[in-house]
């Protein structure tokens, strides 16, 4: 008689690898053969995970269509047995899987749509933090401004796209025909975060992206202004920097500020 450990090992291989050795351990019912009955577990495994990935990547599903998406998900499930207790995390490797896939990697927008959906999902249930309010900034003494550093909201993440994946995603989300996939002449910076309870994203201009990335590293506001001046000219550089900062505060992408 197999030990419990051996039995569970055989059972699991029966589900994951289609190994029929488990059938020697289980019985036919009065109404059905054991292979069909064990098949309930095999089918449920794939069906459940496919549903989870489908829920996590709705717009990618819409973009690829049922047939191609099902093929992608089937390959993903076969290559990535779930290693977390919560199914919430099962689909987290899909963007990387697509990027490495011979079939899908050449269509770069596919991985980027997946990356955007994953970032939005991560922002949705990421850590809470009180956003930085304009009143808090208004209370900062003028002489303290150059040494101010900013704390990004913990749900904020930055993506860089080589295609118009963000436009494709937006069109699909609003149930309109997506634009044709394009390789952009310059990479597009995207900021993802959660405002109230909604995940959001926004493309950033190259200058704003540079300032965001440096601010996120803890660079002081005085230095950020100098960097903006170097990036696109000294003319009204401080005004440009202040305007980016106001936008971040209005959209609740920051969780605090302090003097360095």
């Amino acid at each position: 008689m197999k030990s419990l450990r051996e039995l569970q090992d055989t059972f699991q291989r029966g589900i994951l690898a289609g190994d029929d050795a488990i059938l020697a351990e289980v019985k036919d019912s009065a109404k059905e053969e054991r292979k069909v009955l064990f098949g309930v577990y095999r089918n449920a495994y794939v069906a459940r995970l496919a549903e989870i990935v489908g829920d996590d990547y709705e717009q990618l599903h819409a973009y690829l269509g049922d047939r191609v998406f099902a093929r992608l998900v089937k390959a993903y499930i076969a290559a990535n047995p779930s290693d977390r207790r919560s199914a919430r995390w099962f689909g987290r490797h899909l963007p990387a899987f697509v990027r490495k896939s011979e079939t899908y990697a050449k269509h770069r927008e596919i991985a980027e749509i997946a990356e955007l959906e994953k970032a939005l999902a991560d922002a949705f249930d990421g850590p809470d933090a009180e956003p930085l309010r304009i009143e808090a900034l208004a209370a900062v003494a003028p002489e303290a401004w150059p040494s101010l550093v900013f704390v990004p909201h913990p749900t904020a993440s930055r993506l860089t796209f080589s295609t118009n994946a963000a436009d494709i995603w937006s069109a699909l989300k609003s149930e309109t025909a997506p634009p044709k996939p394009l390789h952009l002449p310059e990479p597009q910076a995207i900021l993802v975060w959660r405002q109230e309870f909604m995940s959001r994203f926004r493309p950033l201009s190259p200058e704003e992206a540079m300032m965001w990335d440096e601010a996120a590293k803890g660079v002081r506001f005085g230095v950020l202004c100098e960097m903006v001046a170097t990036f696109a000219g000294e003319d009204e550089a401080e005004l440009r920097a202040a305007s980016y900062l106001k936008g971040w505060v209005d959209m609740e992408t920051l969780a605090g500020c302090q003097t360095a």
């Binding site: 197999k2 289980v26 109404k31 809470d128």
Partner: protein
């Protein structure tokens, strides 16, 4: 560790995101809610915010799907830690999971997999329940699962196994009416045998749910309304156990809240008819 029997809560529903706002806006006549623990083992955002609001208004029970109590893999202490953290936040009336395993070798199959009903498995499960109860510092409530296969090596019936786990590990039982019905059909045993084979004083909760009939077998899908046959068995179950906190489970094809409240009223009406208004009220 508290050994007090969990209180009778009346008639509850599974908390589903589709219904958050309606619950908070309309405070529907639902006595309590059951949450899927894993859905709230997250860092923040709307789900935890809504859960906090609902916990302020309703009694809540935590129901897990991946404790994997019967697995031969080591207990996952990170998972147990997260469960305890959530319990500190929710202050649930009890914590339940399933008498099953969900994977080995670091893999989670996201399914409630069957156990061979052997002395070896019994010893293993009883020891693990003890460890989990010590960790959580509270009694665990375990649910009988639906199953589709039986193991050649089983030495006892499912209800004997379930009962022995409850007695030896000193835990509570969640009697899933639909799962008994499904497994009885699939394995050809009588629902009455199961019903009368389980210790009455251990049962603290009922689940009632819908399923999918595949002619030769039934699959526990929780995506349909409760069928007449399961309601009939619920009637027998209530008659046998008396007032026990009852909850309608729906995990897929989630209907509007009003539809589930109607189903819950049906359960309440059955319990009233079987037990009488006075006995039901006395339990509250």
């Amino acid at each position: 560790m508290s050994s007090d029997k969990p209180p009778y809560l009346g008639f509850g529903l599974g908390l589903r995101p589709q219904h958050y706002q309606e619950i908070l806006d309309a405070s529907p006549a639902i006595d309590w809610f059951e949450i899927i623990s894993e859905n709230y083992m997250i860092e923040g955002g709307q789900p935890l915010h809504m859960l906090d609001r609902i916990c302020e208004r309703y009694p809540v029970v935590m129901h897990g799907v991946s404790l994997s109590i019967a697995s031969t893999a080591p207990l996952d202490l990170d998972y147990l830690g997260a469960l305890k953290t959530l319990a500190d936040r929710v202050k649930p009336k009890w914590i339940s999971d399933h008498l099953c395993w969900t994977g080995v070798h670091g893999v989670n199959l996201h399914d409630l997999l069957p156990i061979p009903y052997t002395e070896e498995a019994l010893d293993h499960v009883v020891a693990r329940v003890g460890q989990v109860q010590d960790f959580l510092d509270r009694r665990l409530t375990l649910e009988n699962v639906s199953s589709y296969i039986t193991f050649g090596q089983s030495e006892m019936t499912e209800w004997e196994f379930v009962s022995e786990v409850a007695k030896r590990a000193d835990c509570w039982l969640l009697f899933d009416v639909n799962n008994v019905y499904v497994s009885a059909f699939n394995h050809g045993f009588s629902t009455d045998e199961f019903l009368h084979g389980v210790p009455r004083d251990r049962v603290v909760q009922f689940h009632v749910a819908g399923h999918s009939h595949e002619e030769s077998h039934i699959i526990d899908t929780h995506d349909h309304p409760v069928c007449d046959e399961v309601w009939d068995f619920y009637r027998d179950t209530v008659g046998h156990f008396g007032p026990v906190s009852t909850m309608i489970e729906r995990d897929d094809n989630i209907p509007p809240l009003a539809e589930l409240v109607d189903e819950l009223d049906h359960a309440r009406a059955i319990a009233r008819a079987v037990l009488g208004e006075k006995r039901l009220e006395a339990a509250e």
